[in-house]
């Protein structure tokens, strides 16, 4: 048993290292993806350019404009905006928002009447519009407090944001990306490794030896576990270097649980290879079965709690769902094994199930 298994593992390593182009792709692709996604997928907005129509022209109105400009999210268009050019500014996307301060702004403030300012927001991208509106409201709230200290607030909410105090969305996405990339690459590796042997006919030659299904299956999985771990390390390292994403918990625990997750993904790839006849089918099948569910349903972007029940069921069997909980907890919260064992257990269970199923489905004949 051990000799045949070792022979297959050794052979698999020769394949991996001799095909250095593929190896390079396997290693560089995750880093490339994290750079692309890391910079592109961000829910933060900075440099929101806004124009000002200041009809009041008082110290109060200027203080209001400064309140916007000073917090880093907004940037003033460095000149006054005339009413009739407002539309063309929006059309040319020169501004996201225009702030209109009416003539009697200061008068209203000093007489303790409520002063009205108008915000005109470009919501052609509704997401951006919402963000701009929310930010602006906060700025206005701060300004209100500053000007109105005469009126004491009835109560005050003092939010403190834990684990990701800047609400930095990179911190939120990078763990998700690790989950996505590891699932995608690992599943691809094994599904292709087996279908390639079917396609080139080498499977026929191996099968006529006294080899066992479990030796072939394990021999295909184990070498790629190592490759998957190297991938995980590279992704985390580049996330740390490029985006300052922290790992607050134990690196060893993260490594161990990543290992479990990679094992699940590899077994999933094996499962696909028992169905797919050609490398092409295996590749498309793997892409379909990993990318979409992992992005949409695992809690990577959309919270599982707000999904309809059917999708929640699917989410509950996705390995990525559990790994996301694990990796976010370790990286951002510094959580240890005491809290994460249920997820770890479920992942190991899914992996064992998949591997057993793949082994049993593995055909020792050509039919």
């Amino acid at each position: 048993m051990r000799r045949r298994l070792m022979a297959i593992i050794r052979k698999e390593f020769i394949h991996i290292f001799r095909d250095w182009r593929t190896l390079l792709i396997i290693i560089l692709m995750p880093i490339l993806m994290i750079v692309l996604y890391g910079y592109a997928i961000t829910l933060d907005m900075r440099n929101i350019v806004f124009g000002v129509i200041d009809d009041a022209r008082t110290p109060d109105s200027r203080a209001l404009v400064d309140a916007f400009a000073e917090n880093g999210f907004f940037r003033t268009l460095p000149r006054d905006v005339r009413r009739n050019e407002m539309e063309s500014l929006f059309m040319r996307r020169d501004v996201h928002m225009v702030l209109v301060i009416p003539e009697d702004f200061s008068a209203d403030l000093t007489q303790n009447r409520s002063a009205v300012v108008q915000l005109i927001i470009d919501a052609s991208d509704s997401n951006v519009g919402t963000f701009v509106g929310n930010y602006a409201e906060q700025v206005l709230g701060i300004y209100n407090q500053r000007m109105n200290h005469a009126v004491p607030a009835l109560f005050e909410i003092a939010p403190r944001i834990f684990y990701n105090p800047d609400m930095n969305s990179t911190n939120f996405f990078v763990p998700g990306l690790v989950a996505l990339i590891l699932m995608l690459i690992s599943a691809l590796l094994t599904s292709i490794a087996i279908t390639r042997e079917k396609e080139t006919g080498t499977m026929e030659q191996i099968l006529v030896s006294p080899v066992h299904a479990r030796e072939i299956v394990l021999g295909k999985v184990l070498p790629y576990v190592l490759l998957g771990l190297v991938n995980a390390a590279l992704i985390l390292l580049s996330a740390w270097i490029l985006f300052d994403v922290p790992v607050r918990g134990s690196l060893a625990l993260l490594g161990l649980l990543s290992l479990v997750y990679v094992f699940v993904a590899l077994s999933f790839g094996l499962m696909i290879s028992t169905v797919a006849r050609t490398q092409l089918i295996a590749m498309f099948g793997t892409l379909m079965a990993t990318i979409l569910p992992t992005i949409m349903l695992s809690g990577f972007i959309f919270p599982i709690a707000s999904m309809p029940e059917l999708l929640r069921w699917i989410a509950n069997v996705l390995p990525a769902t559990y790994f996301l909980i694990i990796i976010r907890a370790i990286m951002l919260k510094g959580v240890g094994s005491a809290e994460l064992w249920p997820q770890a257990l479920i992942l190991s269970g899914i992996g064992t199930l998949l591997l057993t199923a793949a082994t049993r489905r593995f055909r020792m004949r050509l039919e």
Binding site: R4, M6, R10, K11, R18, T202, V208, S209, P210, L366
Partner: protein, 310 residues
Amino acid sequence: MKPLVSVEHFSKSYGEIRAVRDLSFSVRRGELFGLIGPDGAGKTTTMRTLVTLLRPDEGTVTVDGMDVRKQLKAIRAITGYMPQRFSLYPDLSVEQNLRFFAELFSVPRNELTDRMQRLYRFSRLEEFSTRLAGRLSGGMKQKLALSCTLIHDPVLLVLDEPTTGVDPVSRSEFWEILRELREQGVTIVVSTPYMDEAMKCDRIVIMHSGVALAHGTPGELINSMRLPMYALDERDLVMNFSRIEAASGVRSVQSFGDSLHITTDEDIDEDRLSAALEQTLDRPVRLRRIAPSLEDVFIALIEQGTEHAE
């Protein structure tokens, strides 16, 4: 002594396609046995069944008394199989391929060097031992594939069209090796579409469209064709082919290079045939009585077979 391979009433279909129908033959120990027939005859199906890669639909197939349906591992351990398509790892070197299969078959480590030396000696691949298998020539690939199937000293060697697509020199070299192996007592089942290779087998079974047309030694098969056969050296073969075929007493006509081989009905002798032909072609003809070759037998059998089928 019981035969090493026994195939009894074996049938195999893929969906609607009946690949092999009611095939029976047996292979004695130490024999060089040939499955002869064109593409689609059912040779590959039969061989894959012998090495337990396919399960028979009907009939019994045994190797060394073991049923191919049940004793997969045991049969695989004593059998060497070379698929029709080159199935080694092109990105592994000659030596890495050999070692890999040695490990799969659990060849004792202390014997490995010895066996590899022996295999290198006949295949003359030693100087290429570090070359990637994908970079070998066609003939060398076949010799490497054969070496890999021999690494565990199999009792039975099953070779599916080992010389198809291989140059003539390498082909005859390959058959030289097969003969040596037979001398050493290895039982070999080989398939080929080539009649000259069929002649080199101890016994053959001729297959066509999944059916066995005949079996025996090549000599027996040739002698079994008692029909007289004549060669006609005719220049305008194509033009006169159908007229000759239609002449009285002519059973079948085959073209062989520059001449036609004519089989006649049993009651027709040389004089009557030449008279009939002269009448048909309206000019004198020169006939030669010839002994049929295996190819003639093969073609005659196929024609009989299709007549039977109709």
